[in-house]
């Protein structure tokens, strides 16, 4: 059942809207819970009440963020059903399990110990309280584990087979899904980016206090914890990001080509460090893709394949095929996919008529072409190419900002160590203004991951056009605007409350 493009666009828009909103709050929770747990550990170890004040202050900000994270999160789970119901059936047998495990393993841990963390200061022992704080941190990161494994599976589906009788994919190997390299590297890269964002958040707000010459000791101690945590985790983020890119090269070459604006594949391919795309460039023409660009030679070959001489296929190679490098064209895949879909239909019909020999014949034909079944749904070979501009700019913004964060952590840590941080106004301002950049980098990361794999809901298996629910487009438009209004309204309230709490500061808190 093919859906109108408009319905698909609105369904995607709604998912993008809710996911991007949700992601404004998740990374801070992922990281700040650990920073708080570290601070509370110092408090319990030293018995210094000042550390308790510091812990409680950041906990207060966490609570404000956590509430809206929950609010925007509940919709994500149910949206797979409401707006992607065909998807829910076709891959629900694999995708549902991590979601359920996430709820059971992680959400209960988070919500149960969250109550202890906030209201249990005088109700449970110091040790029990500290344990609860750590469990909230672990719980929130565990929930990220399961949902990111699920996402990793969509990017690189493994551990299942297509059952023609039920017309869906069924799980065959749970450990393959759990240890899916795409899922694991995605998880590690995402949580480490959350740690980095939380560190930027703590440093930035503390810098504001230092600029205002308030809460000096509080701010210095907070910065010390956050800058150490941030520097370590940002280096971890760098290595996991490298691994994530390597996985993209292996499993989603089209995404990599779009991320780099690479049309003509080449050996010793370079990375465009800075570039401006030529908007008139079309797939298959001879125009140069960039108006101007600054390239680091051979870096892409190395990043993608860990080999400076490796061939990196470009968009044109992937669309039109490349015999020399053994790349099949999209139209050939589409032909094969259409044969598979037709054979599947025949199989179902023969089976209904109880014509078993013919059904077996059709099944054989189906299995021979099954690999490209997803391509059978595409109308045009160029539909297999994601938006190059979106992928390129979001990827490069993320990488550029990530590099800046590492530099910032080094500077902040250095000047804190030599006890000069509070005198370096320029660095305090830079720290403050880097907070929003942290959020920009986060959102860019998801745009790269999700826009870059279009048109696929499940890589090579299920295009988004086949995945949506059969609802009227106007229904989705209505809910889209309701979400937009509600989430924006809540976001403004959240930011106002947060700013007020920051102004009030830790002493009176």
């Amino acid at each position: 059942m093919e859906h109108s493009d408009l319905l698909v666009d609105w369904s995607r828009a709604q998912f993008a809207l809710t996911a991007l909103y949700h992601w404004l709050f998740v990374p801070l929770t992922l990281g700040l819970t650990f920073i708080i747990a570290i601070m509370e550990t110092i408090y319990v170890k030293t018995g210094d009440e000042k550390w308790k004040t510091i812990t409680k202050y950041w906990m207060g900000l966490l609570a404000i963020n956590f509430a809206i994270g929950l609010a925007t999160g509940i919709i994500m789970e149910f949206e797979f059903g409401t707006n992607w119901s065909n998807y829910s059936w076709i891959v629900g047998d694999i995708f549902g399990a991590p979601l359920a495990i996430e709820g059971l393993m992680a959400f209960f841990m988070e919500s149960t110990f969250f109550a202890v963390m906030f209201f249990g200061w005088d109700k449970v022992s110091k040790k029990m309280h500290l344990t609860s704080t750590w469990l909230v941190a672990i719980g929130s990161n565990l929930s990220a584990l399961w949902i990111l494994l699920a996402n990793g599976w969509m990017q690189h589906p493994v551990g299942m087979h297509f059952n023609p009788d039920t017309a869906r994919n069924e799980m065959q190997d749970f450990s393959a899904i759990f240890f899916n390299p795409t899922g694991v590297s995605k998880f590690l890269h995402t949580i480490s980016s959350g740690y980095v964002l939380a560190s930027l958040f703590v440093i930035g707000i503390s810098a504001w206090y230092l600029l205002k010459k308030r809460e000096i000791q509080f701010a210095r101690r907070s910065i010390l914890v956050a800058a150490s945590f941030g520097l370590i985790t940002s280096l971890f983020m760098l290595t996991t990001g490298d691994e994530a890119a390597h996985q993209v090269a292996l499993t989603q070459p089209m995404k990599l080509a779009a991320m780099e604006g690479l049309y003509k594949g080449e050996e010793r391919a370079g990375i465009v460090a800075i570039g401006l795309l030529d908007t008139s460039k079309e797939i298959g023409d001879t125009l140069e893709p960039f108006v101007f660009s600054f390239e680091i030679p051979s870096a892409l070959s190395f990043l993608g394949y860990h080999n400076f001489n490796a061939f990196v296929p470009g968009i044109d190679d992937l669309v039109y095929g490349n015999k020399k490098h053994n790349i099949m064209s999209v139209s050939e895949k589409m032909t094969q996919g259409k044969i598979a879909l037709h054979a599947l239909k025949l199989y179902k019909e023969y089976k209904k008529q109880n014509n078993m020999p013919q059904a077996a014949e059709a099944l054989k034909l189906f299995e021979a072409h099954e690999k490209y079944m997803g391509y059978g749904y595409l109308k045009n070979a160029k539909d297999a190419v994601p938006s190059v501009a979106l992928s390129f700019y979001s990827f490069h913004t993320m990488v550029g900002l990530g590099t800046w964060f590492i530099l910032l952590f080094i500077l902040v840590l250095y000047f804190t160590m030599i006890n000069e941080m509070h005198n370096k106004k320029w660095l305090l301002y830079l720290s403050l203004f880097t907070i929003p950049l942290g959020y920009v980098a986060q959102e860019c990361g998801w745009i790269t991951a999700e826009a870059g794999r279009q048109p696929w809901a499940i890589q090579d298996l299920l295009p988004v056009g086949m995945a949506t629910s059969n609802v009227a487009t106007t229904s989705v438009m209505i809910t889209f605007w309701l979400f937009a209004i509600l989430f924006t309204g809540l976001l403004i309230a959240e930011v106002k409350i947060m700013l007020k709490q920051i102004k009030i500061g830790p002493e009176e808190h």
Binding site: T82, S85, G92, A100, L104, E170, L482, L490, A493, K496
Partner: protein
């Protein structure tokens, strides 16, 4: 012993039923949100009520998410058909829960943009409309939905109201209202046990009485409709669905142990209310909660046994969903069954933490002395 696919499907339907029942029990939080002004006359009293609920609301929220997650994993076709079809009902439910999640934290915060009253209204909407709509959605498991499922398992809703048409069925409406009043009875009993403030306590009983008297006739009507109206049944061999009169009455007579459990549940609930009203028992909440969980578990569970249909289609009865035609594969259900061994672990630590946190009743003084209160 060989475990069959049907065993796993039945096990998972039981788990879904239990999680659904635990959620209904936990909706005392929502019931409480609708009683803020009935039970709390001063700001301090309302703060006390909110803080008493505020330590529990996330568990209710999580249980709802878990209910959805378990359905998705174990019965993905239901997830696809109902969520993608009864679109507006589920979306309305979700909006009611989105607004709850911020309300506790933001209500008392300075500079919260919309004011304290606004967030209290959000809590009220969540507690009333949210629970009512969940009741309506659960009721459609008996009364059915307007959907077709084709041989590729693509589903389609046939009404342009996308689920809102369920509101025209008195059974669905009664079911929804029944849950609202039940949640309010439960909330009042919860406050009775956990709040230490004489002025609130003396108002509790009246609330229990009124809401119970509203609940009871709705409950009897709902049970009567379930027992005495036509139900759908499928042939275990041919999978053909047909109509059977008084389907669930026959089910209870054929499986008397379910009837006994159901009656134990109902009687425990009634006994709990009696203890609270006439014996002044503050522990009545434990009886009513046990009764609620048992009763709701059985009510949901009967949809998945004895060849029952758990989601009838009103337009094409052969499209109706059963635990057999809508479930995950044998492999997936097995893996998840292993994971489900964690359920008792989770229940155990929730119980331990809950006890530690609730060892002492909550008072107005305690809240005033805690800068982190809601």
């Amino acid at each position: 012993m060989n475990i069959t696919l049907l065993d796993l499907q039945t096990y998972w339907w039981l788990l879904v039923s239990v999680i659904g029942a635990l959620f209904v029990f936990m909706t005392f939080v929502q019931g409480g949100q609708t009683l803020l002004y009935t039970l709390g006359r001063t700001e301090d009293e309302r703060d006390l009520l909110i803080n008493s609920l505020g330590r529990k609301w996330e568990l209710t929220f999580t249980t709802l998410v878990m209910f959805g997650g378990a359905l998705f994993a174990a019965f993905p076709l239901f997830y696809a058909v109902s969520f993608g079809g009864a679109y507006f009902v589920w979306m309305a439910i979700l909006f009611c829960f989105i607004i709850q999640a911020v309300a506790y934290e933001y209500r008392k915060k300075p500079d919260n943009l919309y004011g304290e009253k606004f967030y209290e209204r959000l809590l009220y909407i969540n507690g009333s409309l949210g629970i009512f709509l969940i009741g309506v959605a659960l009721a459609t498991l008996f009364s059915g939905g307007n959907f077709i499922v084709n041989s590729m398992h693509y589903s389609m809703w046939t009404k342009p109201t996308y689920g809102l048409e369920a509101l025209a069925n008195p059974f669905n409406v009664a079911f929804g209202l029944m849950l609202v009043f039940l949640s309010r009875v439960q909330a009042a009993l919860y406050f009775f046990n956990s709040v230490n403030e004489a002025s609130i306590i003396k108002r509790v009983k009246n609330v229990v009485k009124i809401n119970f008297l509203l609940f009871l006739p709705l409950f009897l009507y709902v049970v009567a409709v379930i027992l005495f109206s036509d139900g759908l049944i499928y042939d275990p061999v041919t999978k053909v669905v047909s109509v059977e009169s008084m389907k669930f009455l026959h089910l209870f007579l054929d499986l008397p142990f379910l009837l006994v459990l159901f009656l134990i549940g109902v009687l425990t609930l009634l006994y709990g209310v009696y203890k609270a009203l006439f014996k002044n028992s503050q522990k009545a909440i434990f009886l009513t909660s046990f009764g609620t969980v048992l009763t709701v578990t059985i009510v949901l569970f009967i949809l998945g046994v004895h060849n029952s249909v758990f989601y009838p289609s009103l337009v094409d009865i052969q499209s109706s969903l059963t635990i057999q035609n809508s479930s995950g594969s044998f492999y997936t259900l097995s893996v998840m069954s292993v994971v489900s061994l964690l359920v008792p672990v989770v229940l155990a630590y929730v119980f331990v933490v809950w006890r530690a946190m609730d060892a002492k009743k909550i008072t107005i003084d305690e809240i005033k002395s805690d800068p982190h209160h809601y």
